[in-house]
Symmetry: C2
Subunit: 124 residues, 2 copies
DNA sequence: ACTTGACTTAGAGCGGGCTTTAAGTGGTAC
DNA sequence: GTACCACTTAAAGCCCGCTCTAAGTCAAGT
């Protein structure tokens, strides 16, 4: 699979995919005889995972660390699990705080109904 | 209330507060005779609102627009309400997508239990 | 043989959101 | 009066995460 195909499949640009590989956020992708990246299905799964975690705001740095541990093999399983648990905790926290904001916005919107009604009453 | 007090109260730096004011994200804060910012309670409410929205990822630009409309008076009430509704929609979407990510992470963590158990079995 | 177009690299550039710097003023403590 | 510290401004700088540029290679089509 070429970089362009992978980019299209996951809605990333080829620049971003090369950037991710360069900083160690993806495994080094195999090349054809002429040096062109050839993504395997397993590479694609990494792309999918990374895209998902980035969309949730997990930093490039954190994900690089995860990939680094993965490359070291099964003796890092426990630490990787800890990393995931920590990421999970952070995302759950983020959801909670966003839910708070939502509540606040809803209250504010309630106030708007009243203000707006009053304002339109005065216009008459 | 001085800028330092407000900064402490809301967990922002004085730099950030000045920056917010400069770009139009807060009303222009009144000054004492010698030119020192003097925050009113109403200013503080703005700080609180802005901090809340920024924490939810609403862009500075969007918030500036909201503040701009507010300053124009009650004839912009309807448009401000529309802005808030749009912000609400985006935040709700964000919560949904984070919830998705959480589910995915949980699945991955399930896999880890199995892998880890298998690995430790092999160590024996 | 030549054009086209997708790929390659290293490295520079960009946008958002602060954050720091430089240079200066004002008010209180000794 | 002078040391000190919090405040002021305009402008430059920084970090993250891409994004773009320049210069070049390769393979297929005509």
């Amino acid at each position: 699979m070429t970089i362009a195909e992978v980019a299209k499949r996951y809605g990333l640009t080829t620049d971003t995919l090369r950037y991710y590989e360069r900083v160690g956020l993806l495994p080094v992708i195999g090349r054809t005889a002429s040096g062109i990246r050839n993504y395997t299905e397993s590479d694609c799964e990494w792309v999918s995972y990374i895209k998902c975690m980035r969309s949730a705001g997990v930093s490039v740095e954190t994900l690089v660390e995860y990939v680094r541990l993965f490359r070291q093999g099964p003796e890092t399983l426990a630490r990787r699990k800890q990393l995931l648990i920590e990421q999970r905790r952070q995302i759950a926290g983020r959801i909670e705080s966003l839910t708070e904001v939502l509540r606040r916005l809803d209250k504010k919107l309630d106030g708007f109904e009243a203000d707006l009604a009053r304002y339109e009453e005065n216009l008459k």
